[in-house]
């Protein structure tokens, strides 16, 4: 890639107060200031957002998909962490 290639950025949009920023897509921009502006132009043309984050794609650290099993196995089967596990108290008000 030539040094004149603009880097890739990931765009996150908050669509309304009270909601999290959600990944919307990516774009190219020469720097952070332009990236957030390009994100505005590209991802909020229809009032989709009230706040934007941009992050350089190369700065994102992800979990390794090859280790998916060992990484995410532990919570499987621990249904006692969920309220629905507790049947005996069903029907008791305000509980």
């Amino acid at each position: 890639m030539s040094s004149n290639t603009w880097p890739l950025w990931e765009v996150f949009v908050r669509s309304a107060r009270g909601l999290s920023h959600v990944h919307a897509g990516s774009l190219h921009a020469p720097d952070a200031e332009m990236a957030v502006r390009n994100a505005r132009d590209l991802y909020t043309r229809r009032n989709e957002g009230i706040s934007l984050w941009v992050v350089r794609s190369e700065d994102i650290i992800t979990s390794d998909p090859d280790e998916k099993d060992s990484f995410f196995e532990s919570p499987q089967g621990k249904d006692y962490r969920h309220a629905t596990y507790y049947k005996a108290s069903e029907g008791v008000k305000h509980l």
Binding site: M1, S2, L8, G25, P30, D31, A32, E33
Partner: protein
């Protein structure tokens, strides 16, 4: 997000144990109708097929801006001018969503763009026809976008996550594109004799190319079966074409216009639409680069790229010098 190429992909002729495991995991995800995500292992052929399809789709959006941009400055009312401008701008946006999706498969946009500008990459051949009259803005919206939407809605469920997500966004935004085209034709159909003639002429020119947008008949479409097995495609070319022709056969009545196809009828026995023989020789010739506008369309893209080089260089140079400057 930038994808890393799996180390073991396609290097050895004899699959290793790890490779077989990966393939089994991939097959299971497809079987469960789940989604493949960028960092998952995937067969090289799947990656290649998708990269080709998604980038072709992106190129089509970008080249597809040209015939309509041709009429922005001449739109006959300021309202139509606004709508057309918004639509052509959306197409740039859709091209960008799709290039983003293609990039997650490991090919940078620069390279995809080079493939387009050098003529190695394909794009929807319908954009190699000229947009001669204002009515073409209507016919393109109604027929070309209509065919594109019929193609795209099932792609929202494509097995590759980033492609499906891009398509959801695109389909939502495009729902206005087809309607605005239809309404252009509707206004013309209720207008003067000259306007009606203009509308019918545009429909005549775009009907057949729009039917060919679904690709060759199933028996001549060698890649379709694999794409369907991978759940990239959900319906065959002919199935989609059938649906589309059925829709427009009804819609054209609202316009009080006709489709240039005397053979068009619904066959009760087979439950299928019969339409005229499509001119696949012309289709192939246009794909090969011999359409009326191929040369011009590509040159226009190269020109924009060439003329913009100093701007891209300047912005990159500025970023290098002021890397750590504050964000406004």
């Amino acid at each position: 997000m930038a994808a890393t190429t799996p180390q073991n992909a396609g290097l050895s002729a004899v699959p290793s144990y790890e490779q077989e495991q990966s393939q089994a995991r991939f097959d299971a995800l497809i079987e469960q109708d789940s989604r493949i995500e960028p960092r998952d292992w995937m067969p090289e052929a799947y990656r290649k097929t998708l990269t080709r399809q998604v980038s072709q789709h992106a190129h089509s959006e970008i080249i597809g801006m040209q015939p309509e941009a041709n009429w922005i400055t001449r739109a006959p009312s300021l309202k139509r001018k606004s709508i057309l401008m918004a639509k052509v701008q959306d197409e740039a946006g859709h091209g960008l969503y799709l290039y983003s999706a293609a990039e997650t498969l490991g090919t940078p946009r620069d390279e995809l763009n080079d493939q387009l500008m050098s003529g190695r990459a394909k794009y929807s051949s319908i954009f190699n026809y000229p947009a001669r009259s204002w009515a073409d803005m209507g016919a393109i919206g109604w027929l070309v976008d209509g065919a594109a939407i019929a193609n795209q809605v099932p792609l929202c469920r494509a097995s590759y996550g980033p492609y499906g997500r891009a398509m959801v966004r695109i389909c939502k935004e495009e729902s206005f594109h087809q309607r605005q085209g239809f309404e252009i034709l509707l206004a013309l159909s209720r207008g003067t004799e000259a306007q009606r003639k203009m509308a019918q002429d545009a429909i005549n020119r775009f009907y057949e190319p729009s039917l060919m947008m679904f690709g060759p008949p199933d028996e001549q479409s060698p890649n379709s079966a694999q794409s369907m097995a991978w759940k990239i495609k959900r319906f065959s070319n002919d199935e989609l074409r059938q649906r589309f022709v059925g829709m427009i056969a009804e819609q054209v009545k609202v316009l009080g216009m006709t489709l240039p196809d005397p053979e068009l009828r619904f066959d009760e026995e087979t439950g299928r639409w019969i339409h005229k023989e499509l001119n696949w020789d012309e289709f192939m010739a246009v794909i090969k680069g011999n359409g009326p506008m191929n040369s011009h369309r590509l040159e226009r893209r190269r020109e924009a790229h060439r003329e913009g080089a100093w701007v891209r260089e300047a912005a990159a140079a500025y970023a290098r010098k002021y890397e750590n400057s504050e964000v406004a």
